[in-house]
Amino acid sequence: MNAATTDTHHDDHHDHGPAPGLMRWVTTTNHKDIGTLYLWFSLIMFFIGGAMALVIRTELFQPGLQVVDPQFFNTMTTMHALVMIFGVIMPAFVGLANWMVPIMVGAPDMALPRMNNWSFWILPFGFAMMLSTLFMEGGGPAAGWTLYPPLSLQGGSGFPFLIFSIHILGISSIMGAINIVATIMNLRAPGMTFMKMPLFVWTWFITAYLLIAVMPVLAGAVTMLLTDKYFGTAFFTAGGGGDPVMFQHIFWFFGHPEVYILILPSFGVVSEIIPTFSRKRLFGYSSMVYATASIAFLSFIVWAHHMFTVGMPVSGALFFMFATMLIAVPTGVKVFNWVATMWRGAMTFETPMLYALGFVIMFTIGGFSGVMLALVPVDFQYHDTYFVVAHFHYVLVPGSIFAIIGAVYYWLPKWTGKMYDEKWGKIHFWTSTFFVNLLFFPMHFVGLAGMPRRIPDYAVQFADFNAIATIGAFGFGFSQLIFVYVVVKCIRGGEKATDQVWEGAEGLEWTLSSPPPYHSFTEQPVVK
């Protein structure tokens, strides 16, 4: 008995807090430190990917080529997508999961802390390698993030580095996902049954399975590209008996679940924020869980809607059209449930709530154009035009990115123990919302009027809306500096946050101190 007490005391002393200095961040196995690393990494990449977007928009400000070479323009569209998808949205969600999942299920840390360190730290190296291709002979990848052969096989000497960096990012994602699954399966507090888990945990649980299922598919597809280019295989070369369309099928078998990897955790975030600021329980909790699971299942059987124009049998096109349209049903249920949660609540509109409301409206607009895109006959008109660009940016920017920013505002007082500057948070929201619409809404019009995507120069009738979109892009980009200002200001000081932080907040994370102790729940809480 006595020995046990001493031991506990010893452990307590030993693991009292983080190691001092920079090595804390290199060697850390703490879920909060790693979450923080992920989030900072993602913020830095957000500005890198954003700078690339501004290169694109600067070139497109006026018709005619003014700034960059068309090849470099293609490199920018390619790298912008890769950075934003693999370097911003995915790491940001993993960062949020690292911080919040153990706390929300009542665990002391992630289940596999050493692997957690590894899964983060290979990421900067992967991206350093990917970005280094910009300086190699032949330039960076320029075949679009979808890497369709034969075009992608025309890449320069950076090509194998790109493939290897994608492998690294994939390994990182898979390890992160395994860790999240292991944590949720094994470390839930007593009484925290599956159907009591917060929706953010649920959506991440499902997302993690999607990641484990499809990242190896991407790895396989890009490896086949590599052997096609360097080892004489002809998986995707018609001249050697291969099939360029097969790559698209494999890629999108990864790519469509990937799309939901980028959005399901946002559904979780929004399902946490809206009840808090409506002071009312989430409407239809179990239907939210089932809807998420249905969306995840459907994501595996709709991939060919990205490639209706490759020439597929009518029966195939019909199947993929019907399956795609079905996704609108569970997604609709989610949106209706959020609105029902607000209905007859007592709402207040702090910054996280503004972001969540912005998410619901603008993500839904992206969903509307999504349903339209599912209709094959009309998709022939929309496909590969700016209408598609408008669609997926609506679901990814005021969708995923807004949810991430909202989540940061929501949990920042918990993380830092201090309140952020509400006034500047709101200014950030309103400028972002104004400019994001100025940026992406006109893209619907030029797309419908016939402007293809991925072109560095365009016919003059598209000039006016492109000029407007470029103004929106700069406005949106610079608005994000406000975000950095608010976050840094909050870390450096501010009004002390209570443990509860938000009046209507419910859940285990709000029972811990703000900021939470280094080893979140050293004693398991009991959930009634």
Binding site: Y148, T309, V335, V339, V378, Q381, D384, R454, Y458
Partner: protein, 274 residues
């Protein structure tokens, strides 16, 4: 005039004004209606989907707006405690399902017509290259390349000093357009020689990928003569943005004359080469 009538006529005026906006080329807001039966069907489908989405938007965003205005804490409301209703969930699962069926059925019908190229009166083979199109008329042996027009080619160079707004049909003009007869069902065979391209004419509402090693089929039957412009819509490398599609649709006899002239020209060239 009653008040309601005045409001109605004001609304009608607004709608008319909004409808006339697309007449200004630079502010095109919507898809072109096009010049084929298929493009009209597609346009109707597009508008049906658009209006249905608008109605759903009014419902969802309207409910949100009412909530935001009325159910806010600053009005001193007490939050309700309801958080579940199977009946409601079932209703808003079934309603979207029905709406989707309303959309899916006409879409499926249109698709089946779009993909049926039987009864085509002539065939043209289109081959994509980096970065031009080749058009072949197998029946008469006519074959030629179609590349960006010189005026656009000069103006597009970085630092050319040419104001592109002064170039007629900038980036949408070619040296040799594809010529097809009006009111004729034309089958188009698509392939490519290097990488994947995609051939699109918005006014015909047809788009399909040209893939090396594959032959894709589509068809069109144009109802009005004229010049119709489109672009390559699959990223195909550096000059992807500079390989437009231009189709001239002419009267049938005019087409025969054009074809005969082409055949004669080609024979002459062949003789000269020998």
């Amino acid at each position: 005039m009653t008040k309601t009538n005045r409001i109605a006529s004001a609304l009608a005026g607004l709608v008319a004004a909004a409808a006339s906006v697309p007449a200004l080329a630079a502010w095109d807001l919507n898809m072109p209606k096009g010049v084929t039966d298929i493009s009209h069907k597609v346009w109707d489908m597009h508008m049906l989907a658009f209006w249905i989405m608008c109605v759903v938007a009014v419902g969802v965003f309207g409910a949100m707006a009412i909530s935001i205005v009325r159910h806010r804490k600053s009005r001193g409301v007490t939050p309700s405690t309801f958080h579940e209703s199977t009946a409601v969930e079932v209703v808003w699962t079934i309603i979207p399902f029905v709406i989707l069926i309303v959309l899916a059925l006409p879409a499926a019908r249109t698709l089946i017509v779009q993909e049926d190229d039987s009864g085509a009166e002539m065939t043209i083979k289109i081959t994509g290259y980096q970065w031009k199109w080749q058009y072949e008329y197998p029946d008469s042996g006519v074959s030629f390349f179609s590349t960006l027009s010189d005026a656009s080619r000069e103006a597009r160079v970085r630092g050319s000093g040419i104001d592109v707004t002064t170039v007629e049909n900038y980036l949408l003009d070619v040296d040799n357009p594809l010529v097809i007869p009006v009111d004729t069902k034309v089958r188009l065979l698509l392939t490519a020689n290097d990488v994947i391209h995609s051939w699109w004419v918005p006014d015909f509402a047809i788009k399909k990928d040209a893939i090396p090693g594959f032959i894709n089929t589509m068809w069109t039957k144009v109802n009005e003569t004229g010049t119709y412009r489109g672009q390559c819509t699959e990223l195909c490398g550096r000059d992807h943005g500079f390989m437009p599609v231009v189709v001239e649709v002419v009267e049938k006899d005019e087409y025969e004359q054009w074809l005969a002239a082409r055949v004669a020209e080609q024979d002459e060239q062949r003789l000269a080469a020998n």
